[in-house]
C-alpha cells in the first residue's frame, strides 16, 4: 500500500508563523526554530552568545507574540484579578504594570505574569501558558466583566539593552525617555495605536512594544530602521534564558513546575519557596491560596530558591547541592546554571532545603571534556542581590548607551 500525505494532514503539525515571521525568517540564518504555544519561535538566530551580548552591550528584540494576552474589562475586572493574584491590584495606578503570581487553593504557583492596568476597568494580563480555564474559574461570582483572549491578534516585541531608549527616540516616540520602569505609554504609529511599556525579562534597560497583529511587520521595520546605528539584533530563547538568569528571574520549566500540570505531591512550588514572598500581600482581602500561604509564612518554606556564586567555571547544570564537601547528604538541587560572561561568575539558582541555608553549600558538578566525563565538588556562596543589575535599568531618563 502506498501511503500519501497531503499538506492538509500536516497543517496542524506545523508551528504557526509569528506576526513578525517574514522578518524573523530573514534573520534566522541558522534555522534554529522551536515552538512556543504553537508559534514558531527562535532558539537563536545566529549565535547564542552573540545575541546575549547584543542585549548587554547594544540592544536586541525578542518576539513575544506567543505570550498569552488576555484583555479583562468591566466593573468587576479589578476585583476578579485581585482575588486571583497574590499582589494587591487595587494599589495599581492606571498606566502601570505589575509582576504577579497566582496560586491554587493550596498556595502552589500556577503561573507568573504581568498585569497592565490600561484603565479603571481595563486590564491586560500576559503569561507564558494558556490560562483560559483558570481565568474562567477565577471569574466565579463576578458577572460584570468580559475576557477577550487576544493572544493570536495582538503582537508583542521586547526591545532590551542599553541603546534601546535611544532607538525608540530615533523611531519618533517622543518623550519615551521619561518613561519610568513599569509604566505604559501610548503612541500614534502612523494612525495606529502603539503601546510601549518599560518592562522586560532581561534585568536591563528595556521596553516592550505592543501593536495590533496586522501592523506588526510595519512596526518591526520602523524599529529596525531606527535601530540600525544602535546595533539592533534579534535574540532568541537561549539568550533570553541567560539574560533572565543573570537578572535572577524565574522561568517555568526551570525554577517552577506549573501547579496545574504537576503530577507528584508538592513537586510544584509556592511563592515563598521561590523567594517571592514579597509578592504575597496578606493585607488585602481574600485571594486564592491565602490561607495556605498564611500557614506557610508562619512555618517557613520547605525549600528556598537561592542565588549561588560557585567557584570555578564549570556550570552546575543539574547538580545536587550538599551540606559538606564529602557530599553525603543532598540538601537541594540546581534549577538553572551558567557561566556569566558579563559578571564573570559561575552563577546558579538552586532550590535548597531552608534549614541548611546557613551552613556550607557544595555543588557536585558533572562536566565533559572530549567525550570523557568528569566531576568536581565546588563551594557555593549565597548571593542576595541579582547577579546583574545595572543602574541604567532603573534610571529615568536613561542614557543613550
Amino acid at each position: 500500500m502506498i501511503v500519501t500525505m497531503n499538506s492538509f494532514d500536516l497543517a496542524t503539525e506545523k508551528p504557526k508563523p509569528s506576526h513578525f515571521q517574514p522578518r524573523l525568517d530573514e534573520l534566522n540564518i541558522k534555522e534554529a526554530w522551536s515552538a512556543w504555544n504553537g508559534y514558531k519561535f527562535a532558539e537563536y538566530y545566529y549565535e547564542v552568545e552573540y545575541e546575549y551580548f547584543c542585549v548587554r552591550n547594544l540592544c536586541g528584540t525578542y518576539d513575544i507574540c506567543p505570550m498569552q494576552k488576555y484583555f479583562i474589562s468591566g466593573a468587576d475586572a479589578e476585583r476578579m484579578l485581585n482575588r486571583m493574584v497574590t499582589r494587591d491590584v487595587t494599589k495599581m495606578k492606571n498606566g502601570r504594570v505589575s509582576y504577579v503570581l497566582w496560586c491554587t487553593d493550596e498556595g502552589r504557583l500556577i503561573d507568573d505574569g504581568t498585569i497592565f492596568r490600561l484603565g479603571d476597568e481595563e486590564f491586560m494580563l500576559t503569561c507564558g501558558s494558556p490560562s483560559t480555564a483558570w481565568l474562567k474559574k477565577s471569574c466565579v461570582g463576578f458577572d460584570n466583566l468580559t475576557i477577550r483572549d487576544r493572544s493570536d491578534d495582538y503582537a508583542g516585541l521586547a526591545l532590551q539593552g542599553p541603546t534601546s531608549c535611544a532607538v525608540l527616540k530615533k523611531m519618533g516616540l517622543t518623550g519615551i525617555e521619561n518613561a519610568k520602569p513599569f509604566t505604559i505609554h501610548h503612541f500614534d504609529f502612523g494612525g495606529k495605536p502603539l503601546m510601549v511599556s518599560r518592562t522586560g525579562f532581561t534585568g536591563d534597560l528595556g521596553y516592550e512594544l505592543w501593536i495590533d497583529a496586522e501592523h506588526a511587520v510595519e512596526m518591526w521595520d520602523a524599529l529596525y530602521a531606527a535601530g540600525q546605528d544602535y546595533g539592533i539584533h534579534p535574540f532568541g530563547e537561549q539568550a533570553t534564558n541567560m539574560l533572565r538568569l543573570e537578572a535572577g528571574f524565574i522561568m517555568p520549566g526551570y525554577e517552577f513546575n506549573e501547579a496545574l500540570k504537576t503530577v507528584h505531591f508538592e513537586f510544584d512550588q509556592t511563592p515563598f519557596e521561590l523567594n517571592l514572598g514579597w509578592m504575597v500581600d496578606f493585607k488585602k482581602p481574600h485571594f486564592n491560596g491565602r490561607s495556605a500561604l498564611v500557614e506557610e509564612a508562619r512555618r517557613g518554606p520547605k525549600y528556598t530558591l537561592t542565588k549561588l556564586d560557585i567557584e570555578g567555571n564549570k556550570p552546575a547544570d543539574g547538580s545536587f547541592i550538599y551540606n559538606s564537601k564529602r557530599c553525603t547528604t543532598d540538601i537541594g538541587y540546581v534549577t538553572s546554571a551558567m557561566w556569566s560572561p558579563v559578571v564573570k561568575s559561575n552563577i546558579a539558582l538552586a532550590m535548597i532545603e531552608t534549614p541548611y541555608l546557613n551552613g556550607e553549600l557544595w555543588a557536585e558538578i558533572n562536566y565533559e571534556k572530549e567525550l570523557r566525563q568528569f566531576h568536581k565538588v565546588a563551594r557555593c556562596k549565597i548571593q542576595d542581590a541579582p547577579f546583574w543589575s545595572p543602574e541604567r535599568a532603573r534610571l529615568t531618563p536613561p542614557s543613550d548607551f
Binding site: 541558522k30 551580548f53 552591550n57 541603546t163 546605528d229 567555571n313 558579563v342 548607551f401
Partner: protein, 539 residues
C-alpha cells in the same frame, strides 16, 4: 603622607593590578604615573570630540578571567565583548573571512581550498593543545631552573608534568615549535598562500621578526592562546575602549584604599645600602617606601630611572642588551561612516569585525625588509578593527572609528629621527593601502592619530615603542624574562620588584605580570597570599 608600604611606578594595567593586590592584602600603596591620565597602553582617549580611541592596545583576549573575577572588575565597570570575524585581504584582491560559526568558517575555507579547510581542524587542535600548556603557566611564577629551593623544584616538576602529559611525539613537536618560523609552521598545514597569511599575521605583531624568522611561531601562539569566556582564540573589545580595563582596575585599587598620583613621573629610584627606599619624582618630591615596584620595561627601569652605580655589576649591560626593538605603528581613524570593502559580502557578522591587510607571505616578508633597512614598510601589514561596530560608547551613532595596527615601523629611520612630516607620510602610506581595498575610504576620514614607535615611547614610555615591553622570543620567555636569574619579579636590588610585561608571561593586556609580582611581594613580606594562582578554564 610621603611614606608608603609600596610605591608602584607606572599606572599601566599591570602596575594597577599589582597595586590592587597589595592594597587588597592591607598594604598602603601609591601608584605614580608620569602622564595626567592612567592606563599606560591600555587607555581610552577622546582626541576628537565624540570619538574615543583605544590609542595603543585595541583588543583583548589575554585578560585573566580569574583576576577579572577576583578583583570584581565587572562591578567596577568592565565589560569585555567578543567580536566576530576578521577578513583577510590578499594582494590579488581575494579575501578570506574568518567566520565565527564553524560551518560558515569551513565553507569559506573550502571556497579557497578543500585541503586547507580540512587542515584547519588539525591546526586548531594543535594550537589549542599548545595553548593549554602555556596558559597554565600564566598565573604562576616561573621556576628558577638553577635553584634547589623546594618551591622551584615543585614548579619545575609542574612544568615537566604538563609537557610530558602531551605524549612523546607532541612533546618533540612542541619543543620544535618554539624555534620555528610562523611560515614553516603553517607550511606543515596549508597549501594556499591566503590561508597561511590569514594566520601568519599573529606571528609578527609587535615583533621585530618576519614571518620567515625563527621564533615567530611562538608569537603566533601568544596571540591565539587568549580567550573570551573560555573560548580559546576569541578576541574581545572592552566596552568603552581599552581604558575601561585600567579604569576598572584603578577603581578596584581605590576600593581597597590604594592611591594613584598622576603627573608624577619618576626621576630616580632611591637606593641605600643595596636596598630600594623610595623614589624621587621629576618635580623633586621624595616618596619613601618599603618596597618599590617598577611597571616600566626592563631597559627603562635599569638604564633610565636607576643610577648605574646602584646596580650590581652586569645588570646595566643586560638591560642595555635586552631585546626591545620597536617595530609597530598605530593609526587611529575617526570615520563618518562604516567603510565598505571590495569583494566582501555585506554581512554584519564579518564585515564589521576586523580586517587584516596582509597581502601575501612575500608581501609580509618584504614589509619586514623595509624595517631592517630603517624605513617604514611601503606596503605594510595592517591589522584593523572597527570597535564602534560593536561598542556604542566610542563614536557617535552611525559614525565609526577604526584602529589600525601597522607592522612594520622602525623606532628610528635610516635617514635620521622621526619628524612630524615623516610621521604624516607614514600615516599616508597606511590610508593609501586601505583605500586600495575600500574605495572612498579616505572621504570618510574625520580625524586621524598617527603613532610611530617614537610617539609611543614618548607618551606611554615603552622603550622604542615595543608593545610587549621586550620581545617574546624564547631567549626572553619564562625563566629567561627579563633576564635569566631575575625572572621571579625580584630585582637585583633588595626591596625592588618588577611587575610589567618585561616579566613573565610577557606582553598583552593580561594583568598576569602585575598579579604574579604581587604574589611574590606578599610572600617576601610573609603576608597571606591574595592572588589567584590558577585559571580554571582547562581543568
Amino acid at each position: 603622607m610621603n611614606h608608603y608600604d609600596a610605591v608602584i611606578i607606572g599606572a599601566g594595567h599591570n602596575g594597577l593590578t599589582n597595586a590592587a593586590y597589595l592594597a587588597k592584602a592591607g598594604l598602603d600603596v601609591l601608584v605614580v604615573e608620569k602622564n595626567d591620565y592612567i592606563g599606560g597602553a591600555a587607555v581610552s582617549r577622546e582626541l576628537h570630540e565624540g570619538w574615543v580611541y583605544s590609542s595603543c592596545s585595541y583588543v583583548c583576549s589575554m585578560m585573566r578571567q580569574s583576576l577579572h573575577r577576583d578583583l570584581d572588575l565587572s562591578r567596577h565597570g568592565l565589560m569585555l565583548v567578543p567580536y566576530l570575524g576578521t577578513i583577510n585581504f590578499a594582494d590579488n584582491g581575494d579575501t578570506l573571512s574568518s567566520y565565527h560559526s564553524e560551518e560558515a568558517a569551513y565553507n569559506e575555507l573550502k571556497r579557497i581550498s578543500r585541503h586547507d579547510a580540512d587542515a584547519m581542524f588539525r591546526l586548531q587542535a594543535d594550537l589549542t593543545r599548545y595553548s593549554q600548556v602555556i596558559r597554565k603557566t600564566l598565573l604562576r611564577t616561573p621556576p628558577d631552573p638553577a635553584s634547589f629551593k623546594p618551591r622551584d623544584i615543585h614548579e619545575l616538576l609542574f612544568l615537566a608534568k604538563e609537557f610530558w602529559s602531551l605524549g612523546e611525539k607532541e612533546l618533540y613537536e612542541y619543543i620544535r615549535f618554539f624555534t620555528l618560523s610562523a611560515a614553516d609552521f603553517l607550511d606543515e598545514y596549508f597549501e594556499t598562500d591566503i590561508v597561511k597569511t590569514s594566520m601568519a599575521g599573529a606571528g609578527i605583531i609587535g615583533t621585530a621578526l618576519g614571518v620567515y624568522s625563527p621564533g615567530s611561531s611562538y608569537i603566533l601562539l601568544h596571540h591565539v592562546m587568549g580567550d573570551v569566556d573560555g573560548s580559546i582564540g576569541a578576541w574581545g573589545l572592552a566596552r568603552g575602549g581599552m581604558g575601561a580595563i585600567s579604569e576598572a582596575i584603578a577603581s578596584a585599587l581605590k576600593s581597597y584604599g590604594g592611591e594613584i598620583r598622576t603627573n608624577a613621573g619618576v626621576e630616580r629610584v632611591l637606593v641605600k645600602g643595596g636596598k630600594a627606599t623610595g623614589v624621587v619624582l621629576e618635580n623633586g618630591d621624595i616618596i619613601s617606601a618599603d618596597i618599590v615596584v617598577s611597571n616600566l620595561d626592563a631597559r627603562r627601569t635599569f638604564t633610565k630611572i636607576m643610577e648605574k652605580d646602584d646596580l650590581p655589576p652586569g645588570i646595566y649591560e643586560k638591560a642595555q642588551n635586552y631585546k626591545i626593538r620597536g617595530s609597530s605603528g598605530k593609526v587611529n581613524i575617526a570615520l563618518s561612516g562604516l567603510p565598505k570593502f571590495t569583494n566582501v559580502p555585506d554581512n554584519p557578522y564579518v564585515n564589521r569585525g576586523g580586517q587584516a591587510f596582509s597581502g601575501s607571505m612575500e608581501t609580509m616578508e618584504r614589509a619586514y625588509d623595509c624595517w631592517k633597512r630603517g624605513t617604514w614598510s611601503d606596503d605594510p601589514f595592517i591589522e584593523s578593527v572597527i570597535p564602534s561596530a560593536w561598542d556604542p560608547t566610542v563614536a557617535p551613532p552611525g559614525m565609526h572609528w577604526m584602529s589600525n595596527f601597522i607592522q612594520y615601523c622602525p623606532p628610528e629611520l635610516a635617514d635620521g629621527p622621526w619628524t612630524p612630516e615623516k610621521r604624516d607620510q607614514f600615516g599616508q602610506t597606511v590610508i593609501d593601502k586601505i583605500e586600495r581595498y575600500s574605495p572612498g575610504f579616505k572621504d570618510l576620514i574625520v580625524h586621524m592619530e598617527v603613532r610611530t614607535p617614537w610617539e609611543i615611547e614618548q607618551e606611554v614610555g615603552l622603550t622604542e615603542g615595543n608593545i610587549f615591553q621586550g620581545e617574546l622570543t624564547i631567549d626572553q620567555l619564562l625563566f629567561n624574562r627579563p633576564f635569566p636569574g631575575f625572572a621571579q619579579y625580584r630585582m637585583p636590588i633588595k626591596n625592588m620588584y618588577m611587575c610589567g610585561s618585561s616579566t613573565h608571561p610577557g606582553g598583552g593586556v593580561s594583568s598576569a605580570c602585575g598579579a604574579n609580582a604581587a604574589r611574590e611581594i606578599l610572600m617576601d613580606l610573609r603576608r597571606p597570599n591574595t592572588v589567584p594562582q590558577d585559571d580554571c578554564y582547562d581543568e
